[in-house]
Structure formats: C-alpha cells, structure tokens
C-alpha cells in the first residue's frame, strides 16, 4: 500500500514539474512582460533595459524558468500586470465564493447522480429508468450558459423570484453569500455534472449487478433488498469515487462560464477578466493552482481506489 501511494506521488510530482514548464513557456510565448508592463511607444529604451535586467529577463530562458520556479515554490506568483496587486491577494480574495459554489454543486450533483444512477440500474428498462436517462441526456446536451439564460429569463425576469446575478444584495447588511443567489448557479452546474455522471454510475452499477457473486447472493435467498444494500452498494463506491475525481478538472471550466453569466465574484470571473486583459501572471497562477488541485484530487482518487478495492494495490 505504501509503495503504491509513493509511486502515485512520484508520478504526480513529475507531471507537476512538466506542467510548470508548459506554464512558463506559454507565458513567455505570450510576449515580453516589459512591453506589456510599460505599454505605449514613448518609453525610454535605457529604462526598459534596466527593468529587464532587474527582472532577470536578459538571462537565457531556462535560467529565467528556474528563477520563476523558485519564486513560485515560495508561494509568490508576482504582481498583476493590470492593477499591480499581488496575485496571491487577488486569488485569496476570490477563491472563497468559488469554493462554496463549486463544493455545493459537486456534492449535490454527486449525491443526485449516485441515487439516480443506482435507481436507474436497479430498475433497468422500467419507466423510472427511461425518465432518469432522458434527464441525464438533456443535462449532457444543454450548454450550461443557455440553461442559465433560460433560468434567468424564467425566474428573474418573468417570475422575479430569484436574483439574476451577484452573490448578495447591494447595500444589505453583513457580508458573505445570500442563499437565494446560489440557487440558479448551483442548478446550472449541478444539472450538467449530474447529467454526465448518472449514465456512468448507471452502467457501472449494471455491470456490478451482473456479477456472479450477486447472483450467488441472490440464489442464497437473502432477498433482493439485502442483496443490493449489502453487496452491490459497497461496490458502487468505486464508480462514485471515479466520478468525483473526473469532475474536479471540469469544475473550473464550469466556474468560468457560470460565474460570467451570473456575475459571481469568484476565481472564474477573475480569470475571465484576466484573460480579456491578457494579465498573464494571474492566468498562469490560476493555471498552476488548478493543476495542483487536479493532481491532488487524482492522487486522492487513486488512494481511495486502493482503500475501497484491495485488488488495485497489487497491480
């Protein structure tokens, strides 16, 4: 078990190292920070050279890379090109709302997908199965932003029951997120994620239900309910863990679009603004952080597999 985990960690570190290289070269490909920082044609060349020297930009690319890596490893992502704020502070200000929104959507959708997927598999080819599958299909096929537009049209414009954007009413007392503001973004994110996952969990569960040991259990006559609860559900944990792991890289993409439509002041909106303004230090920091999160979640998924399914450890 320890060996298995160590191997996974080693692979994650290698991949992370590769990602920092890609990250850095995308940034240099994007252009010289001096040009971007100074802007405009009327700049003294001498001053520019001095600044380039101060920033170490006269050195070869690979030395620049290691310098940059050094500062990043110290947790310093530099300054935004646009408002000269430290990137660290910008991220820590915006990460909270995103985590709350994404966490809620992820938990709810996984719960719904697990229940619906298992129900669907147990009641294969019955009405409930077809209804669930159709809903899942729609979830997979409707673009999130279009669903968001429809929801805003219905609930904010026509019915006027839910706010169309932001995370709290302007001028209201206190701070933090007001729950009414979370409903529509969570629905949009959750519908998409659940749609993707229901079908996966359903087909995995069907495979499990057809396994010999379940037929044996059934043949022993302990009853269908106990067969499913005792023996099948434990094994359904594996596809559920897979689904959770698969969703984490997608979460960020969903955040960009949903936060844009609902003006949710989180990382996604911040990143979208950074993209529009070509604010590369911010973009690269977000890329790196999300890559770390993805790798970490992959690692946790792999370890959880080994915990849930002992046969994985000996591969």
């Amino acid at each position: 078990m320890a060996k298995y985990i160590l191997k996974r960690i080693a692979i994650a570190v290698i991949v992370l190292f590769g990602i920092t290289i890609i990250d850095f070269f995308i940034m240099t490909l994007a252009g010289n920070p001096i040009e971007i920082l100074s802007g405009g044609p009327r700049v003294n060349m001498g001053v520019l050279q001095q600044r380039a020297q101060n920033l170490g930009l006269d050195k070869p690319k690979y030395i620049q890379y290691f310098n940059w890596l050094g500062t990043v490893l110290h947790g310093d992502f530099g300054y935004s090109y646009k408002n000269y704020e430290p990137v660290n502070r910008m991220i820590s200000e915006h990460i909270g709302p995103t985590l709350i929104l994404m966490g809620t959507a992820l938990l709810l959708s996984t719960l719904i997908a697990a229940v619906a997927g298992i129900y669907s598999a147990v009641h294969q080819h019955k009405a409930g199965d077809y209804i669930i599958q159709t809903i899942a299909f729609l979830g997979q096929s409707i673009p999130g932003f279009f669903l968001a537009l429809i929801l805003i049209y219905l609930f904010s414009v026509k019915l006027g029951v839910l706010p169309s954007g932001g995370m709290r009413r302007l001028g209201s007392a206190g701070s933090g997120i007001q729950w009414q503001y979370m409903i529509m973004p969570v629905i949009v994110l959750g519908f998409e994620m659940a749609g993707r996952n229901i079908r996966y969990i359903r087909s995995s569960m069907l495979e499990i239900l057809n396994k010999e040991y379940l037929r044996t259990a059934e043949a022993k006559g302990i009853g269908r309910f106990r067969v499913i609860n005792r023996h099948a559900l434990k094994n359904a944990l594996i596809p559920i863990i897979t689904v959770l792991g698969m969703e984490i890289p997608n979460l960020f993409g969903g955040a960009v679009i949903v936060e844009q439509v609902f003006s949710w002041p989180g990382l996604g909106l911040m990143t979208m603004n950074a993209v529009l303004q070509r604010d590369y230090p911010v973009i690269m920091a977000v890329c790196l952080i999300s890559a770390v999160v993805v790798l970490a979640s992959n690692l946790v998924t792999d370890v959880l597999y080994a915990v849930v399914d002992p046969s994985v450890r000996f591969e």
Partner: protein, 305 residues
C-alpha cells in the same frame, strides 16, 4: 428477480444462437447498419443531423439573405419577410442561423478529426512500443488532462488570435488525451492476441502490424468516442464564442449569436434572437450523442440484437 435472472439468461442464449445464424449470412457492415437502425432514437437522430448538415452545407443557396448584409428593419420580430426576425443591426436571423450552424458543425467535425488523429497516433505508439516511450507519452497526456479544460482553451485563445481556424486547432489539440488513452488501452489488449504474434513471427514490419492488424480492431471504440468528442467540441465552441473568445463577429456561429442575450433587453424583449441558436445547439448535441449511443450498440458484437 431470481426467476427473472434465469429468464434473461435463457433469453440471452436463445438470442445469441439466433444472432449467430443471421450473422453468418450477412457481412459485418450490414449487421452494423441493421443494429444501428434497431436503435430507433439513434436512427432518427441520424436523419435529423443529416438534414441539418445538408441545410448547413448548402446555406449559400438556401439562405434568403446574405448573413452579414444589413437590412432595413432593426430588431424586427419574425415576419413573412424575415422568418426569424432580424438582429440589432438588421441582419436576417434565419440566414445567420444557417451560416452559424455551418460554422459550428465545421468546427465540431474538424476539431474531432484533428483530436482523433493525434490521439490515435500517440495512443498506438505508446501502447505498442511501451517502456520509456509509453511513459513519456502518457505523462504528457496526464499533463494536458490536468489543465482545466476551459482554462487551457482560454489561455490558448489569448495567445493566438481567436477565430474559427484557431478554435479548430485549439479544440483539436486539447481533446486528444481521451482518444490516446482509449487507443493505448485497446492496443495493450490486442497486441497480445495470437494473430498479432503470428504477424510478428512472420516478420511483418511494425508499421504494417500497427496499421493493418491493430488499428482496424480499435476503430469501433474510437468511432464511438469520437462522437462524444464532437458533441463536446460543439458545446465548447459555443461556450467560447459566447464568452467572446471564439468565432469572431461578423462571422456567425451559434455561440456568438447567443452572446447578445447577455443584455437584458434582448433576453426579455427579443426571444427570437437567442432561442433559435440555443435550440439548434441542443439539437445538434443531442443528435450527435444519440448517434454515438446507437453506434456503441451497433459496433459492439456482444450486444444482443
């Protein structure tokens, strides 16, 4: 349930025997077509998509107006003259919808093609040669997969000017890891098969074994996977264009036609400007997904039909 299991088992055996009989008499392709037709929804989706594709391809002949031409009426509601109305600058919405579908389909098809080609090549190489080559390719695949998808596309779109051709390239270069993993997995399985060993013993060259022995056997899963890549590509193009980072106006795409709906007046007062492109996206994606489903059943020799 116990009895039902037994019944299923019996049915399975009967049907398998029946199927074996019918299959002896028909070619593989014919049986695939027959099983594809059996999936009713998939079959209908195929025809709907075919009709949309024909409309899109022949858009220049069908569209009543030039999609970029500015007509007299601004933001006009649908009428006999303009079937779907006109947009804020007076362009005919129906013509733009046709041209937009054309662009979105083109992006979907080409991006899928590109991703599949890259994925197949890398997957074949990684799976067949194994060892260090496999390790390097698969770690690179992990790296691409660890970047949040949309973020990678957005970053790429800021470095290269957004536009239709760049979107195709970007989506193609982002979508391949899934294909590569799938192909690698299948190759690992197939390369231990007897017929591959016999080719090796017969002294066939590696390219021959890869292309003639192994590739045909992984075509079916690739085809099924490619449909899901296409659905995702269409969705991503629309999302990117919606965010303003995709196909650039005045060229119409389904996504950038929806972009205007972020303004409240359009959202509330001019539904003809945002509902048709949205519905078209959903229709395309649903059709592609159902076709993928039907293909999965049709190409899988173990399905009982």
């Amino acid at each position: 349930m116990q009895s039902s299991i037994r019944r299923y088992a019996l049915n399975d055996r009967d049907k398998t025997a029946e199927r074996a009989e019918t299959e002896m008499q028909e070619s593989y392709l014919k049986s695939v077509v027959r099983r594809f037709k059996y999936h009713k929804v998939g079959y209908i989706s195929f025809w709907i998509l075919a009709v949309i594709a024909v409309l899109a391809v022949f858009a220049p002949l069908i569209a009543p107006y030039d999609p970029d031409r500015i007509n007299a009426a601004f933001s006009a509601a649908p009428s006999a003259k303009y079937i779907l109305g006109t947009d804020q600058v007076g362009r005919d919405q129906f013509s733009r919808l046709l041209y937009g579908t054309r662009v979105s389909l083109l992006v979907g098809v080409l991006a899928t093609l590109l991703a599949t080609v890259i994925g197949v090549i890398l997957g074949l190489i990684a799976g067949y040669f194994g060892g260090m080559i496999d390790m390097v390719i698969m770690r690179f695949t992990d790296m691409v997969m660890s970047f949040p998808y949309i973020l990678l596309i957005l970053v790429a779109a800021t470095i290269f000017e957004p536009g239709m051709w760049n979107i195709i390239l970007i989506l193609g270069f982002v979508d391949w890891p899934g294909v590569a993993r799938l192909v690698r997995g299948s190759v690992l399985e197939i390369k231990e098969a007897d017929f591959v060993h016999s080719s090796q013993i017969a002294g066939m060259s590696r390219p021959y074994i890869l292309l003639s022995d192994i590739l045909p056997n992984v075509t079916a899963p690739i085809l099924v996977f490619a449909t899901s890549v296409m659905a995702i590509s269409i969705l991503d193009e629309s999302a990117l264009s919606f965010l303003g980072m995709g196909v650039q106006p005045p060229t119409a795409s389904l996504g950038n036609m929806l972009d205007g709906a972020q303004s409240l007046t359009i959202l509330t007062k001019m539904p003809w400007l945002w509902i048709p492109p949205g519905v078209m996206i959903i229709l395309l994606v649903i059709c592609v997904n159902f076709i993928g489903d039907a293909l999965r059943d049709a190409l899988d020799p173990t399905t009982i039909r």
